[in-house]
Structure formats: C-alpha cells, structure tokens
Symmetry: C2
Subunit: 182 residues, 2 copies
C-alpha cells in the first residue's frame, strides 16, 4: 500500500474573512486601510477583522486572481478592484453557506466556575458585564434608525445584536449574586 501522493493544491475558496473583503469590494474599490475602516463599523460588530488579516488576505486574493490592483496612492497605498473571478468566488462562498458556529464566551466560563470565585469578584464581573452590554445595546439602538432605511438586510444583523444584548442583560440580572449587595 502506498500513500496517495498529496498534491499541494492551494485551496481556491476564500475563507470567511477574505470573502468579507470581496463582499465589500463589490460596491467600490478600496485599499486595505479603507476596508478595515468600513468593516469595523459594520460587520465588525459580529465578525472582527484586524488590519493585519486584511493585508494578508488581500495578498492571497490577489494571488488567486480574485482582486487586482486598481491604482496606487501615496505611502504604499494600493487600491483593489474585484475581478470577475472574484465576484464568482464570492457568490460561491455565499452559495455554500456558513458552517455551524458555537458560542465562545469567557464570561460563561467565569460563571461556570463562579462557585470558586470570591463574592467580590462575582459582583464586580457582573457589574462590568452589565455596563459593557448596556453600552453596546444603546449603540445598536442608536444605529438602527440610520441603518435600517438605507440597508434593510444588513440591519437584520443589527436586530440580532439588539436582541442579543437584551438577552445577556436579562440573564445577568437574574444571576443569583447579581442583586445581593455582597
């Protein structure tokens, strides 16, 4: 028995982060920096992407022929344009659909182990989480009337964000040690 020789076939399907870039390049050309800025305030709320990643993926996308340099600016700025193949790759990514996701939240980890934590720590953690999530909820609510008329489909994710923050706050409120003053 011989092992099947492994053809080093570079995968040609973009990962979710690369696909995000393709998605944003549909509308207009942009540099990595611009993409970062646009992403941060929209998708960034539920799909964090850092600039480092963006540049890496842009290089990869260029190698794959999914984007091309549309122009170059001062300092080392390069603007990218979506190619036809890139558009197709984006549509293929959409057609495939997202893999099932799991929650991954260290606040839950803390609560899981909360019996081992001091009452002070428990209370402080809950208070901090409440502050954080209250702020996010307010930010999402403020955003909604701006976003919804212009972009109803993306706004569906904002609705999710709002429902989620409300849920977390309800849950925090009902933690047994969240009311007792130590």
């Amino acid at each position: 028995m011989w092992s099947i020789p492994k053809v080093a076939e570079a995968s040609d399907t973009p990962n979710a982060t690369a696909a995000t870039l393709l998605g944003f390049l549909q509308h207009s050309n942009a540099s990595g920096y611009e993409l970062a800025a646009r992403i941060e305030h929209s998708v960034g709320n539920f799909w964090s992407v850092t600039r480092s990643q963006i540049y890496r993926e842009l290089r990869w996308l260029e190698d794959a022929g999914y984007v091309e340099v549309a122009g170059t600016g001062s300092r080392r700025r390069r603007d990218y344009r979506l190619t036809e193949r890139g558009r197709a790759a984006f549509e293929a990514w959409l057609a495939e659909g997202p893999p099932p996701e799991l929650i991954r939240d260290s606040l839950l980890l803390f609560v899981f182990f909360a019996d081992s934590a001091s009452p002070e720590a428990r209370l402080r953690v809950v208070r901090e989480a409440q502050a954080k999530h209250t702020a996010r909820l307010a930010a999402y609510r403020a955003l909604l009337p701006e976003v919804e008329p212009l972009a109803p489909t993306p706004a569906l994710t904002l609705h999710f964000g709002i429902m989620y923050e409300e849920l977390v706050l309800r849950w925090l409120d009902n933690l047994p040690w969240s009311r007792s003053p130590l």
Copy 2:
C-alpha cells in the same frame, strides 16, 4: 535613545483554556484525555477546547509549576494534579475576570450579505440553521433537569444556552425570506 532591553519574561498567567484545565483539576486528578472528555460535555458548549490544545497547555502548566504529574498509566498516559501554586493561579484568573467578548458568527455574516445570495441559498441556509439550533435547544433542555440539581451554578450557563437558542430561532423565523416558499 536606546530601546529598552526586552526581558523575555514568560508570562505566568494562564490563558482561559489553561485556566479551564486548572478548574477541572480542582476536583480530581486527570489525564489530558480525561480532561478533554469532561470538558467536551460541559464547558465545551460555550468554550470549545480540543485535545491538542489541552496537551499543549498541560505542558505549559507543568513548566509553570501549576500542575504536576501525579502518576503515569499505560501507553503514555500521565495524570496531573493541581499544585498549590496552581490553585492560586486559578483563583487569580477568576479574580481578574473575563475580558469583554464579541460575537463572532458567520451566519450573521451571511445575512449581512444576503442580498447578494440566491433565494435558494438564502432559504437553505435558514433551514439548516433552524435545524441545527432546534437540535441544540432540545439537547440543552434535556440536560437541564440532570444538571441543575447537582450543579446549580454551572447550570446557569445552560440557562443561557437555552435562552440563546430560543433567541436565534425567533430571529431566524422573522427573517423576511424565511417564510416565503422561494
């Protein structure tokens, strides 16, 4: 101006995954394999940890003096015991509290871009997500009566899971294309 010489000070605070191992070792000694099994069905629902990681962190924890080999079994099995310093490190981790987490969910990414997807893809994605989350919800509900009496604090995370799955299902149900038969 000289740059400050960087002392290669290996950080001594465990990351959340390592802390999880310490948390589980509080009750009883265990091998990496056992830890993996215990974690998978409890914390694993909201803090996924693979065996590879576990072994890496165990080596690190041993180097740091937070766990020690308590015995060795067949094949290369090694059972670990929490040390006093390890217990202290776990408590320190708890006292510090979790960093604020962000949602990261590619289903939301899909919905964000859903205007570019085909109606078939939209419908299929929603249906698959509904199936997945319905199954999880059922599993959590089935687990609750077992877990809650024995471990009420950990069960709080199960409550969260249930509320979360219900929320996702509600949201999916209300997506504009989720009802229309294409």
